[in-house]
């Protein structure tokens, strides 16, 4: 049985990436998001990137298995994220998270921090016990 979560509890840090072009193409195929900015190095270069940026939603999707591994007793009720800085193909990031509120529903702030000053994804997840999410 998992311990109750408390404000300030931290998720284990999880490495994210690096993604190669094949991984980005696989996500594009699975999601249907074929925005050429993520797939075409020449277009990415015209947009000022040294390599195509990984889909923000591909990065946000990393939060789901990270939360499930940390708290398999909880389900995601709400997940929201802002894509602040790009993470380019070949770059690495670290996913981390901290409980902001533990009364009632659990609110966790999650960050995916790449090599730039700002995070690639800044997200909030609201968790509920699995049986309460149905």
């Amino acid at each position: 049985m998992n311990n109750p979560l408390a404000r300030g509890d931290k998720m284990p840090e999880t490495p994210v990436g690096p993604f190669d072009a094949a991984a980005v193409a696989a996500y594009a195929a699975a999601s249907g998001d074929d925005n050429p900015l993520h797939l075409d190095p020449a277009l990415a270069a015209r947009a000022g990137f040294s390599a195509p940026p990984v889909h923000g939603m591909r990065l946000m999707a990393e939060i789901v298995p990270a939360l499930a591994a940390w708290r398999p007793d909880m389900a995601i009720r709400r997940l929201s994220g802002t894509f602040v800085e790009p993470l380019l193909i070949g770059e690495r990031a670290i996913l981390s998270g901290r409980v902001l509120r533990a009364a009632g529903e659990i609110l966790v702030r999650v960050s995916i921090q790449g090599p730039r000053r700002g995070p690639s994804v800044l997200a909030e997840a609201t968790l509920v016990p699995k049986e309460g999410a149905r």
């Binding site: 991984a23 696989a26 996500y27 195929a29 699975a30 999601s31 249907g32 998001d33 074929d34 925005n35 900015l37 947009a47 889909h55 923000g56 939603m57 591909r58 946000m60 999707a61 990393e62 789901v64 298995p65 499930a68 389900a75 995601i76 009720r77 709400r78 997940l79 929201s80 994220g81 802002t82 894509f83 999410a133 149905r134």
Partner: protein, 135 residues
């Protein structure tokens, strides 16, 4: 061709569309994202915003002079999605100026109408060469 403001509605109602949590689509999505093998991944509904009918409507709302870049996304569940189930998705796409954005708000319901989740996507519209930004 340049997209003129008066040529595009500020708000467009899209759908309803039939969407589903097909086993093969979920498996492909889970494989591409590393999602756990049980249930429907929480971010799976993003697939529905790229379904051909909705994507075409969104492309029309964006216009030819802009490249959409995903700025933020939310999923708000009233209940979990069931695998191999059919749902209905209705969306509203709202064009914003200064900065140029397209905000898509979608509601997913069971066929009988019970609410399941809402999605909100904010797309920053980056002007392509020759396009007109509203900064």
């Amino acid at each position: 061709m340049r997209a003129e403001r008066s040529h595009r509605p500020e708000e467009a109602v899209l759908g309803p569309f039939e969407v589903a949590t097909g086993a093969s689509e979920i498996l492909a999505f889970a494989k591409a994202t590393g999602a756990p093998g049980d249930g429907v991944p929480a971010t799976f509904p993003i697939v529905w915003l790229s379904a051909p009918a909705l994507k075409a409507a969104l492309r029309e709302a964006v216009g030819p002079d802009f490249l959409p870049v995903h700025e933020s996304q939310s999923f708000d569940y009233a209940r979990l999605l069931a695998p191999d189930a059919a749902y209905r998705l209705a969306a509203v796409a709202r064009r914003e100026r200064a900065p140029d954005r397209l905000v898509v708000e979608a509601s997913v319901t069971e066929p009988a109408g019970a609410p399941v989740l809402t999605l909100r996507a904010v797309l920053r519209l980056v002007p392509l060469a020759g396009g007109r930004a509203h900064e």
